[in-house]
């Protein structure tokens, strides 16, 4: 019953999205363009998407094992949170979640399209076309509501694609993959990533609409500015929580392994970040319009490419959970998007390109352009490195691997250059920065950077790369803070008392200062990435009960083993005390565990972490034997700074959303220049 309702909802959404394309194209050609004709398909699409998602969740929560997806991915004993998350944890469910977001976003865009808005009406048609693909996927090769028609060995052994006919249910479902049901973050981070992925559909749709209509203006950027930013915020948060999950669950202490699927999430983030920045240049300086079209098309294509990498299994990855006909479908869709949109762009490039008016590379737009190109290079290198084994195998038949050492070696110099450009460019004026202004706006940062580096050395840091990163961080943060103080003191001299001057500076340009907060966040995160990878201590010690071992500045003592039976799993744990170096003062007691998932025959180590202001002590049971345990003890300096830095990045993005709309008259088209140029 639920299956039939859900499947019907998918069909309704599919028909509505096709209708949206057809009617959207027609309505955009009317004068004035009339969005009211899109009312029924827009509402039908949203309703279909919402009902399909709710049906799947309802089926999961009521343990309707007649639905093959439910029987495969959930079990009666699955905890509530992971039941909810099962709605998107596996392939078909993830497509449903994608469809839900896309259909709701389309409806929200429709709400904002007024009469005579040809750009918006055609953008809705583009979104409809994207929705046709996703709901078409659900109606065919990725149907979440396929029913179980035969039960063998307690499992669903045959399914029917069409949810009509006699459905049978196994007594219990199989349950989610233990790795996915081991930590709450795994339930949260995919939806965040998906909001990010799907959100970039909106600027893409407006860009395509503007290209088709040969609209040579920044209207499409102005209207999608918030969408891009929201998508970017969610993508950032999703990547961070994914890294955090990896750190908390995978047991080797890493948060990033340059795995193809991690790269798949990072790539749209890189392209999206470049897009958001170069969009600022177009909105302020009417430059880089062609480049913005290219960037938004690439960003959107990379969201599809990322899904393809995750869901097709073409590249070996720990995250590639499924093999199915969805892979080829995604590949074809990706091809259509790339050839279609870039072909359209090539046809229109001469009409939409803004004239190059870059007066000097040493200017705000110059530094943004440099970083934009660095990000593009970085993204390209990641794609190339990820696909390289596949290419070599295709051409020579040889098997090769590309992993972390390669990506690290590429990422480090690019990160240095990007931070240098942020530190110099974020406070640079538009158009041209004279040597004098450059000096005035970077001298505080130079001082802060060198002093920070010297302090690090005096505190005992002996790694050249760490000292360099800390110096660079001092430079970036010093310049931004100095510029903030400068702006604030100007408005204080203008008659405002200090507290309200501090506040007014930010309030007058929340987009700018939100961006600067994100810049500070990324700088902090880079420092943490450097310290946790270069200065980490990794060791493995055999311990019997009562024994101690000294690791770095700590002493660990194996207190006792414990075990318990939980639903779905057996827990074996070790109670371990972390003491000071002299083994006399207990600082914390940790419980690293092994979780044995009997049904899957899988043992998953679950580390335990103790965080201090200086570092993280990370314990993981590597093995157990009759003498005791082999305990992995890892110490990561400043690990907390990575999570704090990530939070600051997201917070900056949120602040930028609240930017005050800039009221402009055609003649005073550079209000920012007045405010920033004279230091």
């Amino acid at each position: 019953m639920i299956a039939a309702v859900g499947f019907l909802a998918i069909l309704v959404a599919l028909i509505s999205s096709g209708w949206l394309v057809f009617e959207g194209i027609r309505a955009s050609q009317l004068t004035p363009a009339d969005p009211r004709r899109l009312r029924i398909p827009a509402i039908g699409l949203a309703a279909g998407g919402v009902i399909a998602f709710l049906s799947l969740e309802l089926a999961i929560l009521t343990h309707d094992f007649t639905i093959a997806y439910v029987a495969k991915n959930t079990a009666i004993a699955t905890p509530f949170v992971f039941l909810l998350a099962a709605g998107w944890a596996a392939l078909e469910g993830s497509v449903v979640l994608w469809g839900l977001m896309l259909s709701v976003f389309t409806w929200l865009v429709w709400l904002g399209v007024k009469k005579g808005d040809g750009l918006g009406v055609l953008a809705l048609a583009v979104m409809g076309a994207v929705a046709v693909f996703w709901f078409g996927l659900m109606a065919t090769v990725a149907n979440p509501f396929a029913i179980c028609t035969e039960v063998g060995n307690g499992f669903c052994s045959a399914t029917s694609w069409l949810p009509i006919g006699n459905a049978v249910a196994p007594a219990d479902g199989i349950g989610p993959n233990p790795l996915l049901a081991n930590h709450i973050l795994m339930a949260v981070h995919p939806p965040l990533l998906y909001v990010g992925y799907v959100g970039f559909t909106v600027p893409f749709a407006f860009a395509i609409s503007a290209l088709v209509r040969s609209e040579r203006s920044k209207v499409w950027l102005d209207r999608t500015h918030r969408w891009s930013l929201v998508a970017w915020i969610f993508l950032t948060a999703g990547i961070l929580l994914g890294g955090w999950w990896s750190y908390e669950v995978l047991g080797w202490g890493g948060y990033w392994a340059w795995d193809p699927v991690e790269n798949a999430a990072l790539l749209p983030w890189i392209a999206g970040t470049a897009f958001i920045h170069s969009a600022i240049v177009q909105r302020r300086r009417s430059m880089l319009q062609a480049w913005n079209f290219v960037l938004v098309i690439i960003t959107f294509a990379l969201t599809i490419f990322g899904t393809f990498l995750t869901r097709s299994g073409v590249v070996a990855s720990v995250h590639a959970f499924s093999l199915s006909a969805v892979g080829p479908a995604l590949l074809i869709f990706l091809g259509v998007i790339l050839f279609g949109s870039l072909g359209l762009f090539a046809m229109r490039a001469s009409t939409v390109a803004s004239s190059p008016r870059l007066e000097s590379l040493v200017s705000r737009e110059g530094f943004i352009l440099v970083n934009s190109l660095l990000m593009t290079l970085f993204g390209f290198t990641i794609i190339f490195g990820t696909m390289y084994p596949l290419l070599v195998e295709a051409f020579t038949g040889r098997e090769v691997s590309v992993g972390r050492p390669f990506f690290d070696r590429v990422a480090v110099p690019i990160a240095f250059l990007v931070l240098l450009a942020i530190g110099t460019g974020a406070t640079a004026p538009w158009r041209v920065e004279t040597g004098r202004v450059l000096w005035q706006r970077t001298r505080v940062g130079l001082n802060a950077g060198f002093v920070a580096a010297a302090i690090a050395v005096l505190l005992g840091v002996r790694s050249v790369s760490i000292v360099a990163v800390i110096g660079l961080a001092g430079f970036v943060i010093g310049n931004i803070v100095a510029f903030y103080v400068h702006q604030t003191s100007r408005s204080h001299r203008g008659g405002k008392p200090w507290p309200s001057a501090l506040f007014a500076t930010v309030r007058n340009d929340m987009g700018y200062w939100g961006g600067q907060i994100s810049h500070i966040g990324i700088t902090l995160a880079v420092v943490a990435i450097a310290t946790t990878s270069v200065l980490a201590i990794r060791t493995e010690v055999p311990l019997a009960v009562g024994e101690t071992a000294i690791v770095d500045d700590y002493c660990v003592e194996y207190l006792e083993p414990f075990s318990r039976v939980e639903p779905e799993r057996n827990v074996f744990g070790a109670r371990v005390a972390v003491l000071d170096r002299t083994c006399s003062d207990v600082r914390a007691v940790l419980e690293p565990r092994l979780h044995e998932y009997t049904k899957f025959g899988q043992v998953i180590a679950t580390p335990s972490v103790w965080t201090t202001w200086v570092d993280d002590v990370y314990l993981n049971v590597a093995a157990t034997n009759e003498d005791g345990i082999r305990l992995k003890v890892l110490v990561f300096p400043l690990q907390w700074l990575l999570w704090v830095g990530g939070f600051v990045i997201v917070a900056g993005g949120v602040l930028a959303l609240g930017r005050k709309p800039r009221k402009r008259t055609p003649t005073s088209n550079d209000g920012d220049k007045r405010k920033h140029a004279d230091a």
Binding site: L250, G251, W252, G254, A257, D259, P260, V315, A316, S317, V318, A320, P356, R357, L358, E359, L361, L369, V370, L373, T376, L377, F380, T381, F384, G385, Y388, V392, R398, E399, V400, S401, V402, G403, R404, P405, F406, R409, V410, W439, R443, L446, N447, G449, F450, V451, A453, A454, V457, L458, R462, V464, V467, G471, R538, T539, I604, A605, A622, A623
Partner: protein
Amino acid sequence: MPERARNLLWLIAPLVALVVVIVGLWPTDQATADPEARAYNLAVRLKCPICAGESLAGSQTDLAKNLRLRIDEEIAAGSTDDEIVAMFVANYGEQVLLDPPRSGWGIALWAVPLGIAVVGGIAVYGLKRKERDTTEVRS
């Protein structure tokens, strides 16, 4: 105070700090890396042969655990990093290297991104150049 003198004041702190950094980081005998750090750095460079895209350092499989112990033994026996890597390549083929050798096909992995970087640099230079030409014509 004249502006030039004031600007020089801004340079005092960086110069002092630079001296501290250079003196502090002056290379001493750092070559004696401890065996555990060496073992980890090797494990990061080598792929777990039976895993999907995980390194020996990241994998929790028994094989990876055994191979990590093998690295420890080799280091204890006095093998150099290159010897240990060569041993793994001999046993498991070139695909254990997560960092492909920079020879033969491996050159493309580095050459293609570098080529893109050069082309991008030239493009920006061209954009700038074109601008200079048009302004000259205008003036």
